[in-house]
């Protein structure tokens, strides 16, 4: 409880900053709209205002500050506008919309929930593929010098290629072999999420010290026994830490994968928002994606606590 106070103050400060930033960002549009309605603004032509400093415009027209928080298509929507858009697209659309859950029995393609679900399924599938591939590669790297020398550099190179450049190519290549829909996006997700797992698990599988591997040797344990009874359990803290990064990366991958595919999802929703200047829609999708990431990371954290409690609780 003692921490609630400072947290509230910090969040309030962030909101205040957001509101403050929205004023100069949106003042030009607010002034143009006010001018059209016949309100006197300083300077009074759009041409003069174009070259003026945004902060100067705010100071010259303090009366228009509230307008800056109420634009239809603001450059930076105010928090309450984003909240309103979230409420509309998450709740009201399903209740009142023609294609909403209440009237059609399925999630509306104009609401955010359907798109969030599409993104979540690609993220989940991609994360599972990526994590498995990452663990498998790490096991290979730890057991074989050849694998380490041949795989690790490529794994690192793979992460230096910008995913936005790569995603359309992956989609096109997979489409040409007949794969479309969920899988291409999941593969882009997996592409981003396997790497932290490889790095984390290589470290984790090598965590047991020489004494512990010597001990295994004195018992004449097989490689498989050393892996399952020593290396894998010892790597669990590393696995969960890297999976937290991986699941967030998987979400980014799914969103980026949705940009070229246009088959729905939060990424498609953001792109559509930017086409039509619906900044509130972009921000709403953005916030929902962030919330999704937070929930996914928290789920991994929960799984970690469960697993570590089953493993003796002290680790």
């Amino acid at each position: 409880m003692s921490r609630a106070g400072p947290v509230i103050i910090l969040v309030a400060a962030l909101f205040a900053l957001w509101y403050a930033a929205a004023v100069p960002m949106n003042i030009r549009e607010a002034l143009t709209a006010a001018e059209r309605e016949g309100v006197a603004v300083q300077p009074d032509t759009a041409v003069e205002r174009r070259d003026a400093n945004a902060l100067g415009l705010v100071l010259a027209n303090p009366g228009q500050i509230p307008d800056a928080w109420a634009q239809d298509r603001p450059r930076l929507p105010a928090p309450h506008q984003v909240a309103g858009e979230l409420w509309q697209s998450v709740v009201m659309e399903e209740i009142e919309g023609r294609r909403g859950l209440l009237r059609s029995g399925s999630l509306s393609n104009r609401g955010l929930l359907l798109h969030a679900w599409i993104t979540l399924s690609a993220t989940a599938l991609g994360f599972v593929i990526g994590a498995m591939a990452g663990i498998a590669l790490a096991i290979g790297i730890v057991h074989s010098k050849t694998m380490e020398k041949s795989v690790m550099p490529w794994a690192i190179v793979s992460q230096t290629v910008p995913i936005v450049a790569l995603a359309p190519m992956i989609v096109v290549v997979l489409y040409s072999v007949g794969l479309q829909g969920l899988l291409p996006k999941a593969i882009i997700s997996a592409y981003l999420s396997f790497f932290p797992v490889v790095v984390g698990m290589v470290k984790g599988l090598r965590a047991p010290d020489a004494m512990q591997t010597d001990l295994m040797r004195t018992w004449d344990a097989s490689g498989w026994q050393v892996l399952t009874r020593l290396r894998l359990p010892a790597s669990m803290p590393y696995l969960f830490a890297s999976m937290k990064i991986a699941v967030a990366a998987a979400l980014v991958g799914a969103i980026v994968g949705e940009l070229p595919v246009q088959g729905g999802g939060l990424g498609a929703r953001m792109l559509a928002g930017s086409y039509y200047g619906q900044t509130a829609q972009i921000w709403a999708a953005l916030l929902l994606a962030a919330a999704l990431a937070a929930v996914l990371v928290a789920m991994i954290g929960g799984a970690q606590r469960l697993a570590l409690r089953r493993m003796g609780g002290a680790a």
Binding site: D214, R217, T218, W219, D220, R229, G313
Partner: protein
């Protein structure tokens, strides 16, 4: 020889050399080591760091390969003996897995060696009683003191009933009081099980108190400078350490250590 001369030789080393190639040139960890250890003996290896006492133990355990010379364990090469699970090894740190209970840790070598479940349970209980940790089976390592953890690791080495026990400074990280108590227990354990024990230490009283034979080693190159057969009886109360015989052996060990140092 103090003990029966017909006693079977369990560990035999002939002219063992071991040289590590390092960036600073070769390091002679062992040079011309000859040693015979009979069945049921308790042999301590004592010497300053770098004298090769741990290395010799690791050679016997096939954790290091000698560069020259012959080592045989139970009439086999060390590696064959390792595969035959001829020895239990106790390290300086207990090395218990934090994610396994004490019982689970002791059962681990039994699992690896393919003992059936009922047999594992029976043996775990048995060795826990032996090291006086009965009832701690379900506890996790962090719930035990350092001395108890080390007892559990000895129990783990005893669980699969190998006839040789290799101990590399098992009590080195423990305080004097706990160490005395564990020394007493170890003697009792040794008397009860009759296992041939190779014990590395750098404590003179510990070596003299425990051993039937004390191997004094010196560094650069690592070699044996003296082998002392202890005249002390097998039955040894703690206060034997105040007896003249004890003090005399301790003195000889100290002399051996000093001589090894002056030669360098």
């Amino acid at each position: 020889m103090m003990n029966a001369p017909i006693a079977k030789t369990v560990v035999s080393a002939r002219g063992v050399d071991l040289t590590f190639e390092t960036a600073d040139g070769p390091v002679h960890a062992l040079k011309g080591v000859d040693l015979d250890i009979a069945k049921g003996e308790f042999v301590s290896f004592i010497g300053p760091s770098g004298c090769g006492k741990t290395t010799f133990l690791r050679v016997v355990a096939a954790l290091e390969q000698p560069t020259a010379g012959e080592v045989s364990v139970n009439g086999m090469s060390p590696d064959e003996a390792r595969r035959a699970r001829a020895y239990g090894y106790v390290f300086q740190a207990a090395g218990l897995y934090p994610w396994r209970t004490i019982g689970g840790n002791i059962a681990l070598p039994l699992e690896i060696m393919g003992f059936p479940k009922a047999e594992r349970t029976r043996r775990v209980r048995e060795v826990l009683e032996l090291v006086e940790l009965g009832g701690f089976e379900k506890k996790y390592p962090w719930q035990l003191s350092g001395g108890m953890q080390q007892r559990a690791s000895i129990a783990r080495a005893l669980a699969f009933d190998a006839d040789i026990l290799l101990m590399d400074e098992p009590f080195g990280a423990l305080d004097e009081i706990v160490r005395d108590r564990l020394n007493e227990e170890l003697l009792r354990l040794w008397a009860a099980t009759g296992k041939t024990t190779l014990f590395v230490t750098h404590s003179i009283p510990e070596a003299v108190y425990l051993s039937t034979k004390i191997v004094v080693m010196s560094p650069r190159p690592g070699r044996i400078s003296d082998v002392i057969d202890s005249p002390l009886p097998r039955e040894r109360p703690l206060d034997i350490r105040d007896s003249p015989e004890f003090i005399e052996i301790a003195h000889r060990v100290r002399e051996g250590l000093r001589a090894g140092h002056e030669e360098v």
